[in-house]
């Protein structure tokens, strides 16, 4: 199961058929972006939802989860990309034409209708084909509205599903939050949608009610057998209820997987931190399945390149306490908090604070030892967002970095400056500067780098050492031979590993900052 889910983001694997059949997908989101006032709420998201599953979009506020849900409902139209329902493009279809119903965050029950009319709202608008036989014995179908009796029956059933029998005549304002929540669910499921969308439906309920509703929703999902798409910022809720979790951040998908796989094998530091409490360390691989952090070498299960800088995640419950001199690490207890079932103990190891959860307690000030077993250590590639290099300016006003030489715009170092005929920089104040051999920091975005088959075309040359599919593009790493400098870049083209390529960067995409200025700060 976990393996199947993990394959979700990757394209159809080469040379073998996808384990998931096409007809299993009910919703497919293909490269969807939504831009509000120049900011991308959803940035090139691709995923699919399998028929009948309980899928949760999880992330902090502003991560684009609700916008994604709203685009499936039809309230927002994607700026680009496509949404397919059962293989049909529904991107521009208005909400009333989609076989999808929504449970809103604050329920949105119509205050001018009673409970019956709220639940019956969709049914009264619905038209179903009815087959008749005419005098000549021919059959014909007519679209017609549901009869009063049919509506009554369906409303009654829906209210029974949410345990609100006999509430028909009550007005919305007389109901508690939990009851309103149930009416909102009844109002949606009574229409027998193919997909039920739930936008943080439990957010307004108190803790006890929320726990109860979580279980009820899960049972309802089993009973109804329809697809649930759930949005929440509550990681515990997501872990409890979902078949599949989509973790989002800044409009992008961070990880898709089962609750277990997301908890145990977070794809990056963000996911690790967001899903449950965790200790996050900066580590370095020092050997085969050997990672160093907190000044100690730990055995681990993940294998990365030697000397690679990595993020290390250790769950608080995976750290064992030992006697002071027997542990892999040694530190001093600086705080102990009782959390009901366990104690949360913070231990200072060197300069790092390590959080432990244990049913046993220790006293503040105690010196204790800590052990971490290999299966408690999760190692993740450091998430880069930018290529950063140290470089220097040449006589020709080009910049040398990453085993290459590139044309650049040196005037960005001094606002309002320009170059004179001899290549000297004239500042806004009219001062003449010679930038030759000036040390600079160089930043280049992943999207700003192009690679070319013709190696001589590029400012630097190297071999492709890694190609990772990121849902809609490939992330390629080009490594130079001389000093093993890496260029990380995003491209839509498929390259082959070990290709020897030239690295091209447009001058305007090379951002320079003076090193001295940074020091002065």
């Amino acid at each position: 199961m976990a393996e199947m889910k993990k394959a979700k983001l990757s394209p159809e694997p080469k040379g073998e058929t996808s384990p998931l059949k096409k007809e299993e997908k009910i919703i497919e989101i293909v490269g969807v972006s939504k831009i509000f006032d120049d900011t991308a709420a959803v940035d090139n998201v691709s995923l699919y939802v399998r028929k009948g599953e309980f899928i949760t979009f999880l992330g902090p506020s502003g991560c684009g989860k609700t916008t994604t849900l709203r685009m499936i409902a039809g309230f927002d139209i994607p700026t680009s990309g496509k949404i397919l329902l059962n293989g049909k493009d529904i991107t521009d279809l208005p909400p009333n034409k989609r076989p999808v119903n929504t449970v809103f965050q604050r329920y949105a029950l119509f205050p001018h209708y009673n409970i019956y009319d709220n639940v019956a709202f969709g049914l009264k608008l619905k038209k179903i084909p009815v087959t008749y036989v005419n005098d000549k014995g021919e059959t014909y179908t007519k679209m017609q509205k549901l009869t009063r009796k049919e509506i009554d029956e369906k409303v009654k059933n829906a209210l029974a599903v949410v345990d609100l029998e006999g509430f028909e005549k009550r007005s919305v304002s007389t109901l508690s939050g939990g009851q309103q929540q149930r009416v909102a669910i009844a109002r949606a499921i009574v229409n027998e949608p193919e997909i039920l969308l739930l936008d943080e439906p439990l957010g307004a309920l108190d803790l006890k009610m929320r726990k109860e509703m979580q279980i009820e929703l899960k049972e309802m999902h089993k009973k109804l057998g329809i697809t649930f798409i759930y949005v929440t910022h509550d990681q515990e809720e997501a872990l409890t209820m979902s078949d599949t979790i989509v973790v989002m951040k800044d409009g992008q998908i961070q990880q898709i997987g089962t609750p277990t796989s997301i908890y145990n094998e977070p794809a990056n530091a963000f996911v690790a931190n967001f899903i449950g409490d965790s200790n996050l360390f900066n580590g370095t691989m020092v050997g085969a399945k050997l990672v160093r952090f907190c000044n100690h070498n730990f055995k681990c299960l993940d294998d990365f390149e030697k000397n690679e800088k990595v993020d290390v995640v250790v769950r608080p419950e995976d750290i064992k306490m030992t006697n002071a001199d027997e542990g892999m690490l040694k530190g001093q207890v600086i705080s102990v908090v009782f959390k009901g079932v366990h104690y949360e103990i913070t231990v200072k190891v060197g300069k790092t604070e390590v959080v432990i959860q244990n049913t046993e307690s220790r006293n503040v000030g105690d010196t204790i030892g800590l052990d971490i077993l290999p299966d408690g250590i999760h190692i993740m590639k450091k998430a880069f967002t930018e290529n950063k290099y140290d470089g220097y300016i040449t006589k020709k006003n080009t910049v040398v970095f990453g085993d290459g030489e590139f044309e650049c715009d040196v005037t960005q170092l001094y606002p309002g400056s320009h170059l004179d005929e001899e290549g000297y920089l004239i500042t806004a104040e009219g001062e003449q500067l010679d930038l030759t051999d000036t040390d600079v920091k160089v930043e280049v975005g992943f999207q700003s780098i192009e690679i070319s088959d013709n190696a001589e075309e590029g400012g630097a040359q190297g071999h492709i050492v890694s190609i990772i599919y990121k849902g809609d593009h490939y992330q390629v790493i080009v490594r130079t031979e001389e000093n093993e400098e890496d260029y990380v870049l995003d491209t839509e083209d498929l390259w082959n590993e070990n290709d020897f390529v030239g690295v091209k960067i447009a001058p305007e995409n090379i951002r320079l900052t003076l090193k001295q200025e940074i020091k002065q700060k």
């Binding site: 409902a73 009333n96 999808v100 929504t102 809103f104 119509f110 205050p111 001018h112 608008l125 949606a188």
Partner: protein, 271 residues
């Protein structure tokens, strides 16, 4: 330095005084005059005769009917003009919509008599003055009270939680059904607020009817004024005032204006 402290009770005193002087006492005086009459010797006696006189006089009843008709038509026209405008303004994402709203509201800042006089000149120019008394009066009322209809409607529609409309669309409603079943019913507080703001003054604002009909149309407000000033009969004037008060009260009751605002479309009762 000690700070001044007022208890809630103390803070109420000025308002209580105000209410007493300008609401309670005048109301009692009107009631007193309405149900009294001067005997032959000039003494005041309790009587229902003013009430009886009003409802037996064809002239007064026709004035009442006239006021009613003018008020109803003016209110209806105001609603027909204001609703679409308020709806479009409230639903648009246009950043400068407040400017447009302001343009419609701006006449309220110009002196009312000046506005009506200007309108009179305009109607004279296009030849309506003196020929179309009813039309002119209604034009005047609509022109004068339109902002009072727009504002409560706009406020209600603006504050209307969009998730209701989304829910209605989500449940299968097309644009028309969403409007008729959700938007309009939920904007009722604004509609009622607007109607009361336009209907009541349209029944009484005789400056408009006098100026634009060359004193050819008499509405209830004019009648009250005449009894107080021209005929010097405070008893009848007070009785008409009370009858008007009751009519307005009944209208409000009928439109549900006193119902507690339970839904989310608050802010309608701007006034």
């Amino acid at each position: 330095m000690t700070k001044l402290h007022f208890s809630r009770k103390q803070l109420c005193i000025p308002y209580a005084l105000f209410l007493l002087l300008f609401v309670v006492i005048p109301m009692l005086m009107i009631l007193f005059y309405a149900f009294t009459g001067e005997g032959a010797d000039g003494s005041l006696t309790f009587t229902f005769s003013n009430f009886a006189k009003f409802f037996t006089s064809t002239a007064k009843l026709s004035t009442l009917l006239m006021s009613f008709t003018i008020a109803i038509i003016s209110t209806a026209i105001c609603l027909l003009i204001a609703y679409p405008l308020a709806y479009v303004l409230a639903r648009s994402n246009w950043k400068k919509k407040n400017v447009l709203l302001m343009i419609f509201i701006m006449p309220m800042w110009i002196n009312f008599v000046l506005r009506i006089t200007a309108l009179r000149e305009l109607l004279d120019l296009i030849g309506l003055l003196g020929t179309q008394n009813y039309l002119n009066t209604i034009i005047g009322m609509v022109y004068d009270f339109l902002p009072f209809m727009i504002l409560p409607l706009y406020t209600t529609l603006e504050k209307l939680d969009k998730s209701y409309l989304e829910a209605a669309a989500d449940l299968g409603g097309n644009k028309f059904t969403v409007f008729t079943r959700v938007t309009f019913p939920l904007s009722m507080p604004g509609v009622i607020s607007g109607i009361t703001m336009v209907f009541m003054p349209s029944m009484t604002n005789y400056v408009v009817s006098d100026t634009l009909s060359n004193f050819n149309i008499t509405i209830l407000g004019k009648l009250i004024d005449e009894y107080f000033t021209t005929y010097d009969n405070w008893h009848m004037g007070s009785m008409i005032s009370i009858i008007l008060l009751v009519i307005i009260f009944l209208t409000l009751l009928a439109t549900g204006g006193f119902k507690e605002d339970k839904n989310n479309a608050r802010g309608a009762n701007l006034w």
